[in-house]
Amino acid sequence: MLSRIAESLFWIGRYVERADGTARILDVHLERLNQMPLPQQWETSRQLLGVMGSRPEKQDLELSDLLQALAYDRTSATSIAGALGAARENARRARETVSSSVWESLNTAWYGLTQHRKDVVGTYRFCHWVVERTAMVRGLSDTTMSHDESWQFLVLGRSLERADMTARMLSTHDVHAAGLSWVNMLRCAGAYESFLRTRRAAFGDQQAAEFLLLDRLFPRSIVYALSDAEKCLTQLNPAYQRVGFINDASRIVGQARTFLEFHQTRDLMAELPEHMDRVQKACAKASDAVSRTYFSQADELSWVGEVS
């Protein structure tokens, strides 16, 4: 398939997952932020934005600024609207490759962006709607596209972004002075029920973090997402099956996963920030490596025209 199209698919996967993750994080934090005294709210909002990767200029961040930055700002790829817009733009470029239902669901989601009230109450509904729409896009792409190369690129982007988003969710734990309760942290990832059923009696911060970080069966855990990404990379380049690593991206993702999986620790909570930093860096590097290997047009000839 065309490199350009592969790149678009990779980014559709990433952006859709980003919109989903951001909506989940915003939903849970909004509830808490709303109950804080103003100065603390400002500080927490700033840190939350920091975790999500944007650097606010304003000092006293109103709640509405936060909403704008994370939900409605169409010009920023950190916000939900920006991510969905970018996903739709990529789908438009790869329209003949994605199935028409995937394109349509992204297109209608994009048209639906404007139809929400931008206050706190409206944002709850908005987040919910985004989670639904992105689930629909995922479901349709899984059921209506052949699971060939193009789909693998989509899933690769999705998995990397998911690992990244879960890392951010865990990072927000530190954001709140008192710590975000583990219940909320799990709810961010939609993991609350799964966690309760798995862990039965033992719950607490440590276990919740462990679950989101290391569980091999919960799809939004970092280890699970990274091994998904690894599988896609193997499928995309099945040539080297025996010795050595396939390419940079596989190496980076594999190392990050195994480090987490086989790491032994007594105090996970103390190490959490470092882990999260490693995961996020690994995702970014893997994404770069994928671009270099598959999408690169660095040696692209550019035609300069006549010298007049």
Partner: protein, 522 residues
């Protein structure tokens, strides 16, 4: 008739145009029977709800065209344009005839120019055409076809006779709307589909792909076909994605292609892949910076040389624009006689060549009664309709014509035929044209039944272009008489519903249960 048609007769009487749906006595023509019955049962609320739902579907599906950087849905009217099968058969032959003649003409023009030597058409006229490209003279394209895809615009005059308005053999667009309109109409006006046979349009992508594959460079067993688009900002981008998607081929941009050793490749995730046939949706001028505009970044350097070497097929061939030239258009009936030895099946619209001094004199005297068009324009660009123009506009036009008489033609104002169209809460007559699409695979010219009917949404307006507020209608070619059981009885020769016989692919072990019980007994 329905209340929605209350003022129709009065409105139709105001214009001398031929009405497609109603005859002079204001009763529906035979071919419109089913449509009239379906519309009759609807009230305003129904029609509005259906029209809204159709518009919404188009927006969701992204059936849009880009206008001034904005994606707009192409408005589809709920009343289809119906053409009787018998009328269509003539039109179809006429379009195919024209395509064959233009194909022969282009082959000749870029070769020996026998047509000039035999005095049918002046050499000056060809060489002065803006789209005559010497870069592609002297070789015949791989696969031997130049006009793979064409759109011949036809209109119906006041007598109801079809006439050709212009030929589009460069990059005719609009076929995607034909395909999408039919899908939308099947949901928007399902009642009208029942009992008559409407010729299907959905085989177009398959026909197109077959023709493109057939015209691949010789020696290629399994040709790779691509669609070359200028990118997402092109007004017809939707069409490019739809066609590439329906044909199951890659949609490439210029930057995805590279030429090396007169071969064209595309960059894929698995390295470079050879490309054999390019369905080109960009203008010739932007195709190859080595040959044409050096500042173009839409094309791919070297592609024309590859075509000249016979290593790649470009559809439509570069340089076809000379046959689009509106001054060449005036010679097409002669070309048909010259190349095919046949009489033209569809006539041209009477046209003045402004190069001829006497004709020019006459036209300049009657500017306010005529339509004046630039010879190389498309999409209604630069066209001046005399009766609607102001004095200043006419004066400006007069100066332009005198400055460059080769650049203009003049035609009488044609009262294009009308079809009922939803407007302001009722049906009113609106002018339409028709663009049938033809696919030429070198042996046979296939014409898509129907084509694109464009409609001017403003009352009395004769300009149907989408960029100037035009919409479209689904176009039906309807066969036979509408079968309507008068007394509710079942028609005799109704085909019986057959149940397919079940055949088993797997050998069935009829007695596996028996065997099992036997085993247990043992």
């Amino acid at each position: 008739m329905s209340e929605l048609f209350a003022d129709y007769a009065a409105a139709a009487r105001k214009t001398p145009a031929f009405d497609e749906m109603f005859n002079v006595g204001q009763s529906p023509r035979t071919e419109y029977g089913q449509v009239a019955a379906a519309l009759d049962a609807l009230n305003l609320a129904d029609v509005t709800a259906r029209a809204d739902s159709m518009a919404r579907t188009f927006l969701d599906r992204g059936v849009t065209f880009d206008f001034a950087g904005e994606e707009r849905p192409f408005p589809l009217d709920i009343v289809p344009r119906v053409i009787a099968g018998d009328d269509w058969d003539v039109l179809e032959r006429g379009v195919a005839q024209r395509v064959r003649a233009l194909e022969a003409f282009l082959g000749d023009v870029y070769d020996k120019m026998a047509v000039v030597a035999d005095g049918v058409i002046p050499r000056r006229l060809i060489t002065s055409s803006a789209h005559f490209h010497r870069e592609v003279a002297g070789f015949s394209p791989a696969g031997g076809v130049r006009v793979h895809i064409s759109g011949i615009d036809v209109v119906r005059d006041q007598q109801g006779t079809f006439r050709v308005l212009e030929d589009n053999v460069r990059v005719p667009s609009g076929v995607s709307y034909v395909l999408e309109n039919r899908r939308a109409m099947a949901k928007g006006l399902p009642e009208a589909f029942g009992q008559q046979h409407i010729r299907p349009v959905e085989e177009y992508p398959r026909r197109l792909l077959a023709a493109l594959r057939k015209t691949a460079p010789p020696g290629v067993d399994d040709p790779t076909v691509v669609v070359l688009t200028p990118g997402v900002f092109n007004s017809a981008y939707f069409e490019h994605t739809l066609l590439a998607g329906l044909m199951g081929v890659e949609l490439v941009e210029g930057r995805d292609l590279i030429c090396r050793g007169n071969r064209v490749y595309m960059r894929t995730t698995a390295g470079e892949q050879r490309v054999d046939v390019i369905y080109k949706r960009i203008d010739d001028e932007f195709l190859d910076p080595l040959q044409f505009r050096a500042d173009s970044v839409l094309g791919c350097p070297g592609i024309v040389n590859a075509a000249r070497a016979g290593m790649v097929t470009i559809a439509n061939a570069v340089g076809n624009g000379v046959a689009d030239d509106k001054l060449v258009y005036t010679y097409v009936p002669d070309l048909i006689r010259y190349y095919l030895g046949e009489d033209p099946i569809i006539a041209n619209v009477d046209t003045y060549r402004l190069e001829d001094a006497p004709a020019r004199e006459e036209v300049l005297d009657r500017l306010d009664e005529l339509v004046v068009k630039p010879v190389d324009g498309s999409g209604g660009k630069g066209l001046v309709i005399g009766p609607d123009a102001t004095r200043a506009e006419l004066d400006a036009l007069r100066a332009k014509v005198l400055e460059d008489p080769r650049g203009w033609i003049a035609q009488p104002v044609l009262q294009l035929s009308t079809v009922p169209t939803m407007s302001g809460g009722q049906f009113s007559p609106r002018h339409v044209d028709l663009r049938p699409f033809a696919v030429n695979d070198g042996e046979d010219v296939w014409v898509l039944p129907g084509g694109l009917t464009r409609v001017a949404m403003k009352e009395g307006s004769l300009i149907v272009n989408s960029s100037q507020g035009g919409g479209s209608k689904d176009t039906w070619v309807v066969d036979g008489e509408v079968r309507r059981p008068a007394d509710g009885s079942v028609p005799a020769e109704r085909p019986s519903v057959s149940v397919r016989e079940r055949t088993s692919v797997w050998p069935i072990e009829t007695n596996w249960q028996d065997k099992q019980s036997e085993q247990q007994q043992q």
